[in-house]
């Protein structure tokens, strides 16, 4: 076995090197470190990179205005690499190694579920900026995106109002679409709507001819689309070339925002409705400033979208809570947060004390030929978040508890 001796020695050196590389970098006293944890590589980078950009913009704004508690915010950026276990690992690193005051991050439900135990275990804060399937309210997570009653249910209300009662469900095969469709089916049963079909495709699926055939044969009034990422591109291209139009069969999407429209091709999706809480065209003073600042920092051809705005809000809301608490200490911030209300690009946003979700205004928009989204319907005032749908009798039993 003489061959393995040098290798084993190499292993020894490696192990020692690993031990030595562990110098703790303590934050200096006039800085507050926060973590930004999004997928910068892999399939989810498509969506998450710009959310990180919006969060960096918010940090820059706060620092330019003098920081928080007289200290500058310093972002520590990590890559979740579209891989859930990596999210858990990097979250642990940010919390334990960098000792950040808060982490802003995640996109997919899977990444949030993977990070949740880390934040609960080490009693640290996660601000999660994307609409999701509800049925969760962790004491250590603030949810700045919509829960189901602020997006999916208003979307269904809109379809019903339009007289489109025969619906086909199309989604990617993961937690959000399956939970969303469960809710949709319960809603349909209670509201006299008919579900003509329910189909799932693997994430990253690009061959939609069979599914389009099924949808076309069923002749629904509308399609409720919970596909994710690249699949949307393939689905809309193939649906369009099969002859479907937005007039005869609108496809209501809940995961397509301004950013995705270019990749899908405006001509393939113009006229179809989407459900969100914010569009680049939303008319509020805060939004005018946000869009202007974002374009100035990242380029005039960039667009802003709901998750970007929710990430941008998350940083500002956290800073506000820190100011109110007078400290970055987690329990104090949690205690200070409820009731904080800010005028954000999407309108007035209030942190709910019961479940750490936000009061948000639901908005339905139609995709325009210029790639932006024009609002055609809104809920009037911000809707109280209800992640377990306790306020909806027809949803009883969905939450399982």
């Amino acid at each position: 076995m003489r061959i393995s001796r040098p290798i084993l020695s190499a292993l020894l050196v490696m192990a020692l090197a690993a031990c030595g590389s562990d110098a703790e970098t303590a934050a200096s006293s006039n800085e507050i470190k926060v973590g930004l944890l999004h997928s910068l590589s892999g399939t989810m980078a498509i969506s998450e990179v710009t959310v990180r950009d919006a969060e960096l913009l918010a940090i820059e704004e706060i620092n330019n205005a003098g920081g928080v508690l007289g200290k500058k915010i310093v972002p520590v950026v990590e890559d979740g690499a579209s891989d859930w276990p990596t999210f858990a690992e990097k979250a642990t690193k940010l919390v334990r190694q960098d000792k950040v005051a808060a982490v802003f991050g995640g996109w997919t439900s899977a990444s949030r579920k993977a990070m949740l135990p880390v934040f609960e275990r080490y009693k640290a804060l996660l601000w999660y900026p994307v609409q999701y399937e509800g049925l969760e309210s962790s004491p250590y997570i603030f949810y700045t995106g919509a829960t189901t009653n602020q997006q999916i249910i208003p979307g269904l209300d809109y379809l019903k109002e339009q007289g489109r009662n025969r619906i086909f469900l199309v989604g990617s095969d993961y937690v959000f679409p399956r939970t969303a469709n469960k809710i949709i089916k319960a809603y349909a049963a209670a509201n006299g709507m008919e579900i003509l079909g329910e189909e799932y495709t693997p994430l990253g699926h690009t061959e939609y001819s069979t599914l389009v055939n099924k949808v076309m044969q069923a002749e629904p009034d509308a399609v409720f689309n919970t596909l994710n990422g690249d699949s949307n591109v393939a689905f809309f291209k193939q649906l369009k070339s099969a002859g479907a139009t937005a007039e005869s069969m609108p496809v209501l999407s809940v995961s397509i925002a301004e950013e995705e429209v270019t990749g899908i091709g405006v001509e393939n999706i113009a006229g179809h409705p989407v459900a969100w809480n914010y569009y680049q065209t939303t008319e509020t003073p805060a939004n005018e400033a946000f869009v202007k600042a974002f374009k100035a920092k990242y380029g005039q051809n960039k667009v802003t979208s709901d998750p970007m705005q929710a990430g941008y809000n998350a940083v500002h809301l956290w800073a506000e809570a820190v100011k109110k608490a007078g400290t970055t200490e987690v329990e104090a911030v949690k205690k200070a947060a409820p009731g904080i209300a800010l005028d954000r690009p999407e309108g007035k946003v209030t942190i709910d004390g019961d479940n750490q979700h936000m009061y948000k205004t639901a908005r339905i928009g139609i995709i325009q030929p210029d790639g932006l989204i024009e609002q055609v319907w809104d809920s009037g005032e911000p809707i109280k978040p209800d992640p377990y749908l306790e306020g909806y009798p027809w949803a009883a039993g969905l939450a399982g508890q």
């Binding site: 399939t43 690009t206 061959e207 599914l211 055939n213 070339s241 990749g263």
Partner: protein, 282 residues
């Protein structure tokens, strides 16, 4: 019933897509035994070429050149040191594919880009839109061109000679190094052409290659290494199987059924549909 009948042309068109993405592999993998995991990224390069030119017709030859040259560079700089060690090339080219994906992300941005479909491709016949028919036509043209090249040109015959017996071919005065270069150029170029066609039906982004690579290898493996007719039959067979399996179940299950079918098929015919007969002992 209509829905059921519709699945037949749909299956054929899925088969055509599989054929297109696998056609280049019948060269690099089939003829040369190089497991090129960066094949998917050459497809991606073709799609991005179409994006840069914003013109489908111009993009076809341009993508062939771009992807071909990329293949040539890869072959000259790295792969040629690995001939006879197919499994090592698999790992090496996988590393290359990672780098190319990240490069695309940095050059073109992480979000998908849009290649407008030409106006003359809107509309369709029955269930098949013109863009599907275009892909089917392109696949047929590609197969015919490859077949003509291999059987009717001197270069092609030399390629086949090298595949069948490298040493003997070299002894007969064939410059095997040049044949390898050319084969790799054509194989990679065909991937580029496939990439252009795929912009009609799918996303154009940094992850594009990863969606097709496993399917492409399955087609070549099921068809038999270096067997053009095997690859054609395998592509059509898998396309039809996929189409009907998804029709009766769902997309996830259909994928599993297709994969299971290939694994089971290799039990019956371990070398694929058609085997290159040889008396050489491994």
């Amino acid at each position: 019933m209509t829905a059921f009948l519709n699945q037949l042309p749909i299956g054929l068109s899925i088969g055509a897509v599989l054929m297109l993405i696998a056609l280049g592999l019948t060269f690099t993998f089939g003829q040369m035994g190089v497991i090129n995991m960066a094949h998917g990224e050459f497809i991606m390069a073709g799609a991005y070429t179409a994006f840069l030119l914003q013109d489908m017709v111009l993009a076809l030859p341009a993508a062939f050149l771009v992807a071909g040259v990329m293949g040539l560079i890869l072959e000259r700089s790295a792969i040629r040191h690995f001939y006879g060690r197919p499994l090592d090339t698999l790992l090496l080219t996988w590393g290359v594919s990672l780098v190319l994906q990240q490069l695309a992300r940095d050059l073109f941005g992480a979000p998908n880009v849009q290649v407008p479909a030409p106006a003359w491709l809107s509309g369709g016949v029955g269930i098949l839109p013109y863009n599907r028919l275009f892909i089917m036509g392109l696949a047929v043209a590609g197969v015919v061109a490859v077949w003509l090249y291999l059987t009717r040109t001197g270069l092609g015959r030399r390629t086949q000679a090298v595949v069948q017996n490298r040493q003997l071919a070299a002894t007969s005065g064939i410059d095997t190094g040049r044949v390898d270069m050319l084969t790799f150029f054509i194989g990679s170029g065909l991937a580029g052409v496939a990439g252009v066609a795929l912009t009609l039906i799918g996303p154009v982004g940094p992850a594009l290659g990863t969606y097709y690579i496993v399917d492409a290898f399955l087609v070549v493996v099921a068809g038999g290494l270096g067997q053009l007719r095997g690859a054609v039959l395998a592509a059509l067979g898998l396309g039809l199987l996929n189409s009907y399996a998804e029709f009766w179940s769902d997309a996830s299950l259909a994928k599993v059924i297709v994969l299971a079918a290939v694994i089971a098929f290799l039990q019956v015919r371990p070398q694929g549909l058609f085997v290159l007969r040889s008396r050489v002992l491994t």
